[in-house]
Symmetry: C2
Subunit: 310 residues, 2 copies
């Protein structure tokens, strides 16, 4: 099978939606504009063999992960994804079955969230497969949530449980699209980000964007079962709390709201998303820096070298 | 310099425009929607070290090429580019100066055409640098030109001169944006494509999209000086006509118009773009297949194996 035959087969049954006027097969995809009261979200992200996935990972999950990472970013703006393009870099001797399964996994996730895949490119990548995703989304003007906007006194929340994602969740995670849209539509979310670099790293991004600091309560940080199992099973593994702070690829939502909204939000969340944990893990401070409160008191988390902190 | 320091430096002075509400530094870029009477163009494309550029190519030209390829696709729709995102894959031991110069070349070209660079990603790519570009554009609804739409009897035109692009033009070419918009705005262009795979290959894409055939006049095909020099200089080089038909990466525009429009178009073109050659190279036929007429008569061009044809 050559490149053109592969493309022809891959593009035969891509998911579409009403936004797509011309999909795969022209110089560009042609899309309807969003409503004038909405804003456009635009994201790109790539995953590389040996870095973000292994050669022997199930191909469907590789394709799924590539798209899910971008969906998670749209979720963190309070938006809805509309249309994706896929660029896949392939060695000359590619495995057509593997590539078809990568596309199948990606397309299944796209269908689940009503996202069109309006084409893309295949290109030669001699050593490793890579997938680069371009994603468009939309969000109501008044509901677009940025990283900036956290205010001193805000309560800090995180969805789900953190740490140990490399044990499998990084290939399986559910982008928090429904949750992000619900939060942005029902509460005055001051700032939001999705967790890709780990709680400590991504919280720093929020703090930097808002020129604020933060204080976390160690006992409130939701640690995944996987992080605990890894810590119990391997002497070289990180302690669970450190894993939750620094492992990365959690793809949960981290956000802040005014403290007076914290309890109403928790109540409404439990009614709306009874199966997904939501944790209030600390508060935003006017003083810069990231601090952690535990049974020994309050201590500063170092800016760099999370791996060496324990 | 680590990844975050590099990103911070790269994103400090990216070109912007009025479409960008939030650029680099949030989960997604946030853009104003286009006017409701316009359509959105969406394109992605990647270039890989050792495939589309060499490690020692001037870094500015590598960045320029990555974006120019996508601009050329927007040109082929009759559209105007608005906003790009850049994903760059880098080895662990990246050369920060090289990366900054890649971004500088890309940004210079973006500024030249009023395109915003609203952020992107860096990612680990252990063996080779790759650049993946996502590009948005816009086009008036009535002026969007597709690959399909060629009609039997149409005159086939091509801009510029073809072949030998690997001699240097592939790093230096000018995307035909002004020309594409002018053509779409002033004439009833039936079908258009930009030449990336070579005239014979891309003409087949047009023919396939329009369910038609084509007949080219060998003597009318504009052959670049570079292709002629390569043929004269190396005994292993392709004959010039073959190079013009099959070399690829010309990034010129190939389009068809009704035969009655051919002469008025040529006249108007000469007045508007006196420095850029425009050639009428043949006609669209109802019979499928690609034929070439030369002094020996009419012969079929084979579907595959262009390299072996001469």
């Amino acid at each position: 099978m050559n490149e053109f035959e592969l493309i022809s087969e891959l593009t035969r049954s891509l998911p579409s939606n009403e936004s797509v006027l011309v999909g795969a097969g022209d110089d560009c995809a042609v899309l309807k504009p969003v409503d004038p009261h909405q804003l456009v979200l635009f994201k790109t992200d790539a995953i590389v063999e040996g870095v973000h996935f292994d050669h022997d990972d199930p191909p469907e999950k590789i394709g799924r992960k590539a798209l899910a990472r971008c969906l998670s970013d749209v979720a963190a703006m309070g938006g809805a994804p509309t249309c994706a393009l896929v660029t896949i870099g392939l060695p000359k001797q590619f495995d057509a079955d593997q590539v078809k399964r990568i596309y199948a996994g990606l397309s299944d996730l796209a269908r689940q969230y009503g996202v069109a895949v309006a084409g893309g490119e295949t290109t030669a990548s001699p050593d490793r497969i890579f997938l680069s995703i371009s994603l468009l989304g939309k969000v109501d003007r008044e509901h677009c949530v940025l990283r900036s906007g956290a205010k001193p006194g805000d309560a800090i929340f995180v969805t789900g449980e953190l740490g140990g994602s490399r044990g499998g969740k990084h290939l399986d995670f559910e982008p928090r699209l429904e949750e992000g849209q619900w939060l942005a539509g029902h509460f005055n979310i001051h700032a939001m980000i999705d967790l890709s670099d780990g709680l400590a790293g991504d919280l720093r991004h929020l703090m930097h964007a808002g020129s604020v600091g933060a204080e976390l309560r160690a006992g409130s940080i939701p640690i995944s079962r996987e992080a605990k199992l890894q810590a119990a099973g391997e002497s070289s593994a990180k302690p669970p709390l450190l894993a939750a702070l620094t492992d990365g690829e959690d793809f949960e939502l981290l956000f802040t709201v005014a403290s007076r909204d914290a309890v109403p939000l928790l109540d409404a969340w439990k009614a709306r998303f009874p199966k997904l944990r939501l944790s209030c893990i600390g508060k935003v401070t006017a003083t810069p820096g990231l601090k952690l409160r535990d049974e020994n008191g309050l201590r500063e988390l170092p800016t760099h070298g999370y791996v060496h902190f324990a």
